[in-house]
């Protein structure tokens, strides 16, 4: 089958990817862009392991055609850290046991990142609601909630520190 080529932004880098046109964004990312940090668990939009951000919004990449991503900005787990410095959500997840096997973790981290962008101080109920589409079989979710809440504190502390150093 002949391939199609699209231009898009992946993790803040403009890029072109060629792939068979029936492929999902999940397959394009993993197989054609070699970004294997995005995972798959069910192929039908139930588990949330494949969640990535498209123009900042969480999207289940297994239900999203690669072609639809043309001209858009896609963020995967590989683009979450700032160089070697982990995003506060990543640090909090690692420190507080929110990642056990780590397989659902990329999808949960990106979904949580989108939540905090939209709503910087969510309640526990809002965190539960936002992550309700991401299944995790290891943790029982509680350490994930705590890590998101801890990340909020870390982000605020980081912002205060930046403000102080700017003055």
């Amino acid at each position: 089958m002949s391939k199609v080529s699209i231009a898009l932004t992946i993790n803040d880098e403009a890029t072109e990817v060629s792939f068979a046109p029936h492929k999902t964004l999940l397959e394009v990312l993993r197989e054609d862009a070699n970004l294997t940090g995005t995972k798959h668990g069910c192929e039908l939009g139930e588990c949330g392991a494949c969640a990535v951000l498209v123009d900042g919004k969480p999207v289940l990449s297994c239900l999203y055609l690669g072609l639809e991503a043309a001209g858009r900005a896609v963020t995967t787990i590989e683009g979450m850290a700032d160089g070697p410095v982990l995003h506060p959500l990543q640090d909090a997840f690692a420190d507080l046991g929110a990642a056990q096997c780590g397989y659902c973790t990329p999808g949960i981290l990106l979904t949580a990142k989108a939540l905090l962008t939209e709503r910087p101080n969510p309640t526990r109920a809002e965190i539960r609601e936002a992550l309700a589409g991401n299944l995790c079989r290891c943790t029982g979710y509680l350490q994930i909630f705590e890590a998101v809440e801890d990340a909020i504190v870390r982000i605020a502390a980081g912002a205060a520190k930046n403000e102080a150093s700017a003055q």
Binding site: K39, L86, Q90, A99, Q100, C101, G102, Y103, G140, Y141
Partner: protein, 836 residues
């Protein structure tokens, strides 16, 4: 302690939050081919012919394999070598793999699969164990009597006398529906030939050692020419513990094509791999005194094994073996049978064979307490097994913190004030459990270590720990680094761990039966102590301090009496290397000999047992039967909590998984109508239909860790990965009774069942939903084993002595005349009430 007991980031934490953990399907190689399997559409049929010509001729297809290419059978247990990489003569369940197509990409491979033509001769489908009991022919497997896979019968003490001594005898039947692991990662395997011509297999497996053995057997290659690398598993829970068809198929394909070959199962196929929780029908007959003291238990279990053996013999024995290690049971009879049916094979899921009878026992105890007017917590508390004792079936108990666990959840939940007083629709339920910390005997009986650890230290100060153990998310890599770091006084992050690789690390039997922390941990401590002792010799000379005074801590080695006299850890290693030459040490671990010498006594013994107690609160909507669980209080006897962050995660993860089983998860099947073949098909082989709890269903969990170091565990640690799952299901059923006064003697406890029981109660005065009677089973001759307090020595009186017991045994004090006084440490039988 340097690191023990301190909550910390696990050593592989960074990899997991950056997406850098390389799971099996993340591994790719140039020129890699892709494999798809053709799976049987029929539940039971003879294969008459397979026409592969069109598939083989399809452009892009490089190889087609059928069962004839790999005729040697295999299986996880030596007694059940009943699987083939691809079916050779018949198919036994919908999803049984029949042929494989290997092609340039996955799509082409699937096109090839669709071009395969198979002629089948359909056979009668056997859909459940009760049906299987009555069908001699057709047989699903060639071995076993009819469709009976395994039946066992054993009696410890005189149960009839136990029942005669009882004031009340309770008889109940329970059913526990099967369910599956549902690890989010789907099984994947990549096989290739490495540059020196040897086979390399990367796989999402919990047991690289057993896969190694199966590959060697089926492919007829020396094991030394095969390297198995267990990729970190994206969740295991027991579902990746068998050697699987697809692993052997891609290994064969790599050997034939000379190219890397990958397979990744889709979710439907993962449901067909299964090896999950056995559906079990149970009958509990329990004699009690009026004060609730148990005088005897007779348990019968009937397991739906599915189409293959898998771990089934062990699963069957596990439905009986651990009933005795929680409460004092002076006389005990266990009959268990596993039937073959035309369904995906069942196997080990978290708790392996023990959650089902645990559910029955804990719910029956609740009924006993209600009937006798006793508090269910008190009933349990007063007959907890004694520490340092031997049970009726010769399980050797070390520490036991169950009383403290019960006390914690009773206090935390305000049980005394709130049970029975929350008003209609709201209730509390209690349940307890215990679990083993690794199996005392290996799958292949031999004298070899169960776990080995090798350490390499060099002048850079670097330490590498090698072990065959497998990281499945539970934190096995972190436990390895922690144990070495604790002994050497360095940080876990200073250590590089190399695990799950049969070429690079000493054998560890795998991540199953809650064995890793205890067995690998003890091996790691031994290796690290040997390294520490070598280094100490050199440092003691340098500092002119006696070796016994040296302390390894905070990346330094110093004199306990003069901490100023010290060298850095790195300099200490340099001193050691200069004196002794290249530094490397090994450690290994083998469990102590078992006291259970009777046949079938190989399942149940463990170096230590963990204990858990739980109180669950439920709100039942009287109109719909819908259940909300606001809070669960759970206390776990962990011995020592090595990394509390991970321990809490295991407790909460177990609670979560138990709640899924309790409320909604079920692997169910249905028959197609006769005009559509009457075949038995999976009701829900997708995540859309197989429901599991989301963030919205997860209750608050109040966790208490009871620390009472057990001498058998590394730094006193016991298991936590499986035990805390066990009490959740019965605690829910008991809480539902407290809330609305009905009994659901069946798992899952669904709203429909609760509603049906409530309706029954309205009509008849009592509400119960559950199975009817236990069917007739032809049990084998019952092994008769005198209990320790009858002077038994662990042998059955009517069995010939077993070969494996010829090795020297540690003497066991089981003669009643040798009984130690209460409270005295050491081995002694617990002293149940005399029932004669």
């Amino acid at each position: 302690m340097n690191v023990v007991g301190k909550p910390r980031r696990r050593v592989d934490g960074r990899a997991k939050v950056t997406g850098q953990t390389r799971f099996a399907d993340d591994i790719s190689f140039p020129r890699m081919l892709h494999c798809r399997l053709l799976r049987s559409p029929l539940p039971h049929a003879n294969i008459l012919a397979i026409d592969t010509s069109a598939a083989a001729a399809h452009p892009g297809v490089r190889l087609v394999l059928t069962g004839q290419d790999m005729p040697t059978s295999y299986g996880i247990l030596p007694v059940s070598q009943d699987e083939h990489a691809l079916c050779t003569d018949k198919v036994r369940f919908v999803g049984d793999p029949v042929a494989a197509v290997i092609a340039l990409d996955e799509d082409v491979a699937q096109e090839g699969v669709e071009l395969l033509r198979v002629s089948y001769e359909a056979l009668r489908t056997i859909s459940d164990p009760e049906e299987a009991l009555g069908i001699e022919e057709p047989k699903i497997q060639a071995y076993g009597k009819g469709n009976l896979h395994k039946a066992v019968s054993m009696e410890f003490g005189d149960v009839e006398a136990g029942m005669a001594a009882a004031d009340h005898v309770f008889e109940d039947t329970f059913f526990f529906q099967g369910n599956t692991h549902l690890a989010i990662e789907q099984h994947a395997t990549v096989a290739m030939i490495d540059p020196d011509g040897k086979l390399v297999v990367h796989s999402s497996t919990q047991t690289p050692h057993y896969l190694h053995r199966a590959l060697s057997k089926v492919l007829n290659l020396p094991a030394a020419h095969i390297r198995v690398i267990a990729a970190p598993n994206g969740g295991g829970f027991g579902g990746k513990s068998d050697p699987f068809n697809h692993e052997i198929v891609v290994a064969k394909a790599a050997l034939v094509t000379g190219r890397p070959v990958k397979i990744c199962l889709n979710r439907e196929e993962v449901f067909y791999c299964h090896r999950g929780r056995h559906p079990v029908l149970m009958s509990f007959k329990t004699g009690v005194k009026s004060d609730g003291t148990i005088t005897g238990v007779h348990l019968r279990t009937l397991l739906d094994g599915g189409a293959y053996g898998s771990y089934g013999v062990a699963s069957t024995l596990y439905t009986g073996a651990l009933q005795t290690v929680t409460y004092q049971i002076p006389t005990y009879r266990f009959d268990g049978a596993r039937m073959f049916t035309n369904k995906p094979p069942c196997g080990p899921k978290r708790g392996h064979g023990t959650p089902q009878p645990r559910f029955g026992q804990e719910v029956q105890l609740d009924k006993i307490a209600v009937q006798l007017g006793l508090d269910p917590a008190d009933l349990r508390m007063k007959q907890v097994v004694e520490p340092n004792s031997i049970t009726a079936n010769f399980m050797r108990i070390g520490t036991i913190g169950l009383k403290e666990c019960i006390q914690k959840v009773v206090d935390g939940s305000k049980w005394r004030e709130r049970r029975g007083k929350l008003g209609y629709g709201r209730g509390l339920g209690i349940a307890c459990s215990s679990y083993l910390c690794g199996a005392g005997l290996p799958i292949y009986w031999n004298e070899l270590p169960h776990s080995g650890v090798q350490l390499r230290l060099d002048r850079s100060g670097g330490v590498t720990a090698f072990c065959g153990a497998t990281e499945i998310g539970q934190g096995s890599d972190d436990m390895l680094a922690l144990c070495v770091a604790e002994v050497l006084g360095i940080d876990p992050f200073d250590i590089r761990v190399v695990t799950g690789d049969t070429d690079l690390g000493p054998v560890d039997l795998g991540s199953y039966s809650s064995r890793v922390t205890l067995m690998m941990g003890n091996a790691a401590i031994q290796a690290a102590e040997r390294a520490r002792d070598l280094i100490a010799i050199s440092v003691s000379k340098k500092l002119n301090v006696p070796r016994g005074r040296l302390v390894f801590s905070e990346r330094r080695v110093f004199d306990a009496e003069d901490p100023g006299a010290s060298v850095s850890f790195r300099d200490a290693v340099v001193l050691g290397e200069a004196e002794h030459g290249t530094l490397g040490t090994v450690g290994s671990y083998k469990p102590p000999p078992s006291a259970a010498k009777y046949k079938s006594g190989g399942v149940g013994p463990s170096p230590a047992y963990s204990y858990t107690a739980c109180v669950l609160e439920v709100e039942v909507d009287p109109a719909t039967g819908w259940m909300e669980i606001p809070t669960i209080w759970i206390a776990h006897d962990i011995g020592t909590s090595l990394n509390p962050t991970l321990v809490r995660g295991q407790v909460e993860g177990s609670v979560y998984m138990g709640l899924g089983e309790a409320l909604m998860e079920e692997q169910d099947f249905r028959r197609l109508p006769p005009k559509r073949s009457g075949a038995l098909v999976h009701k829900m082989p997708s995540m859309l239909e197989y429901k599991s709890p989301t963030t919205l269903e997860m209750p608050d969990v109040i966790t208490y860790l009871i620390e009472n170091p057990d001498g058998a565990g590394p730094f006193g640690a016991k298991e936590v990965g499986q035990g805390p799952l066990l009490p959740i299901m019965p605690a829910l059923a008991n809480a539902v009774f407290d809330a609305v006064g009905v009994r659901v003697d069946e798992i899952p406890v669904t709203p429909e069942k609760v509603l049906a029981a409530m309706e029954l109660k309205r009509r008849t005065g009592t509400g119960r939903v559950g199975p009817g009677k236990f069917p007739e089973v032809q049990w084998p001759e019952r092994a008769r084993v005198p209990t320790p307090w009858e002077g038994g020595d662990g042998n059955a009186t009517n069995e010939a002595p077993r070969k494996r017991d010829q090795r020297p045994q540690t003497p066991i004090a089981v003669d009643p005349s040798m009984e130690a006084p209460p409270g005295q440490a050491g081995l002694r039988p617990h002293t149940p009430e005399v029932v004669r």
